[in-house]
Amino acid sequence: MTSGEILVKGGFVIDPTRKIDGDVGDVAIKDGRIVDKVSSSAKVIDVKGKIVMAGGVDVHSHVAGPKVNVGRLFRPEDKLLSGTCRSAMAQQNGYRMESGFSIPSTFKTGYDYARMGYGFVMEAAMPPIHSPHVHEEIHDTPIIDEAALPVFGNNWFVMDYLKKGEVENTAAYIAWLLRATKGYGVKVVNPGGTAAWGWGLNCLSLDDVVPYFEITPREIIKGLLQANEYLGLPHSMHIHQNDLGNPGNYEGTIDSLKISEGVKPKNKFGREQVMHSTHLQFHSYGGDSWGTFCSKAKEVMDYVNKNKGLTIDLGCVTLDETTTMTADGPFEHHLHSLNHLKWCNVDVEMETAAGVVPYIYSKDVLPNAIQWATGLELALYAKDMNRTFLTTDHPNAGPFTRYPRVIKWLMSKKAREAVLATMKNTDKVINATTIHNIDRELTLFEIAQMTRSGPAKCLGLGNLYGGLAPGMIADVAVFDLNYKNIPSDAEKIESAFQRAACFIKSGEIVVKDGEVVGHGHKKTVWVNVNMPENPQVKRDITQSFTKDYTVQLENYSVKDYLAPHPFVINVDVEA
């Protein structure tokens, strides 16, 4: 099927990479790539009256790995009333059963993303020693291309090198770890704080000192920003900042964003930012207690709008019952002490930690309602939608299957007001946020920037994903929306994005009328850094595996058979 020619004919094309906004046109596909034209024998798909976009690109989602599995294991109730366990359709077509809502099974994850027209998903936090498991699970997730970001912000090697200011050694270690784990880039979660959690402590400010390592979050962030650009990786450093989720954290957020000033992007992948700040919603709060809790989205976005070295994703709260999971171990303990629900904590030797706690976001609980508004405000205050991406930090602020609902809220003031009006504390929410006064409604072009061209460029994949220019991977999504006549009923926007009218993945039709019709040929994308050997780092790694790790060095790396469909991006670093 990949060699087949397809012509997606007569739709309203929306492709920000070529500044095409709703022009009626055709998209030609051959050998899994977009081409200029196809022969007359091509299969023609008539999409007249519908919109055509590139496949969606998710910059940050927790969809594979040990903490996702912990969530699945300790929340059987998440599966009870969800999914289509006995779908007659699935049985007839030989597809696997689907189950789970906030932590769907691997099959449901792949199918649901495909049904929403998404072609690429970044697993946002891979504990390096568990990377073999992450890759097995990625391989088990059908259709979508995936990559994974190993976590570095609390890694003992990184803290040791950066304490001494050794950016070059840090870079050599990153290069080694990316190759060993088949990872994609540098993820940082609560820098220093998760390591401090080993002593029952946390780093809530940029200048809190990590016990034993005697380094501060500020030094870790700065060093990793520099190491990332030293290597010239496709993606920038990708950070979940300190002090997540607490009232009054917005000033610390802006201070950590400021660390990016003076660092220049250096890469051959068209990336312009040096820092990607993820799920910014959780980091944009004012007040000094839950009683005075309020949104500071405007203040944070005023800074982001000015600094072109930054990209962000939203982390929108969707007002659902979900499962929080993060490498921010101390935060999960804090959350458990607030909601008293079950808590799981894992320490990952020398590298990171993780916690998992279920959470119910209710529109009638004031802080939750303010969080809901804060996430949407970030997008509505953004000036450059190519630097502002749609996420729910799946599953932390809500499941990824709610992206269409977030799109609805962003595109329709009426839809936002409808939610606001049914809240128990409508007046208090209006006082603590600015959402009620924002009239902006995003356009389909802006949504395409936030979900396609923007995240692809931010990941250094702008020449492959997120657009419909000839030469790019043929991920093409068709949605049943008339560009010339957007329905006044915003529910129709949500339902159109929930189930693509058609989704072509790498030149193969995988979804038709919202139903999965093919398993596609997924790829695992990873970054291979070629650089001269660094004898000191090599010796440090060998020594550490003899002395500290519970596994041997030979058993640590992800073997090739665990990622049987690799798509390797090579980065050459000169000495």
Partner: protein, 267 residues
């Protein structure tokens, strides 16, 4: 009121998932339509008519519909689950999940029930003349939201995990119970008229338990505070009053710390 009678004609080879056997699903339907209602045997889609002859017609609403299973339903699960009104009578035994997630109406099983009877129920009445296996009125596995309301009365004995994570309602076990009563509960009342092996009220935050027999192994987190006279299920007794579980967090109400209360009939 109209009565629909299901007469068993065939024992399922596996287990019949009889989630359609509720007054809500039957309401407004003829016997022929009821026979066509769906069920599952393993992964196979089946009809109620494959296992029962259906006679009588349902009332217009669930509240006007009575269902009688005239025979043994030992291999039929989910009888009366999620029902909101009306009645279900089983003249014999029933399998798991009788009255699970039930919101209203009445269920009467003249024989025994298997596990998960009244799991996460919110209202209504379940009466079992025989014994119940495990997980009477408990939460679904992993869930922290257990039984919220209604009454379950087991005239015989019950197994383990009774009222786990219970939030409200009443469970009465007229004979003995095994282990784990009201574990993690934050409300509701459990009455055991016979003896209990142990683990009564572990990690319990709030709620009431009454035991008229003996507790073989008492939880260490319970402390005797006084002796009180109380009327329970229509009879008056003198009880030793314990509070607990002292190892668990406890909320405050009007300045007072709220504990779970265990009333053990004084010797």
């Amino acid at each position: 009121m109209a009565t629909v009678t299901l007469k068993p004609t065939k024992v399922p080879e596996l287990i019949l998932e009889g989630y359609s056997i509720t007054p809500d699903a039957f309401a407004g339907k003829t016997s022929a339509q009821i026979a066509e209602l769906p069920g599952h045997e393993g992964k196979i889609h089946v009809r109620l008519g494959d296992f029962f002859t259906v006679s009588g017609e349902a009332g217009a609403t669930a509240a006007e519909t009575n269902i009688v299973i005239a025979g043994d339903a030992t291999r039929v699960k989910y009888i009366g689950s999620k029902m909101t009104a009306g009645t279900v009578t089983v003249n014999g035994n029933a399998d798991m999940y009788v009255g699970g997630w039930m919101k209203g109406g009445k269920i009467h099983v003249t024989g025994n029930v298997d596990s998960f009877c009244g799991i996460q129920m919110e209202g209504g009445d379940i009466l079992v003349d025989g014994d119940a296996k495990n997980h009477v009125g408990c939460a679904y596995r992993g869930d922290w939201r257990g039984m919220k309301g209604g009454t379950i009365r087991i005239k015989g004995s019950a197994g383990n995990d009774i009222g786990t994570f219970m939030l409200g309602g009443t469970i009465i076990i007229e004979k003995n119970a095994f282990i784990h009563v009201s574990t993690h509960a934050e409300g509701g009342t459990v009455i055991v008229k016979g003896d209990v092996e142990g683990r009564v009220g572990g990690q319990m935050v709030k709620g009431e338990m009454y035991v008229l027999g003996t507790i073989k192994f008492m939880m260490p987190g319970y402390q005797k505070v006084d002796r009180v006279e109380k009327e329970i299920d229509g009879l008056k007794f003198t009880f030793d009053h314990y509070i607990g579980d002292l190892g668990e967090r406890h909320p405050k109400s009007k300045g007072q710390v709220i504990y779970a209360n265990l009333y053990l009939k004084a010797a």
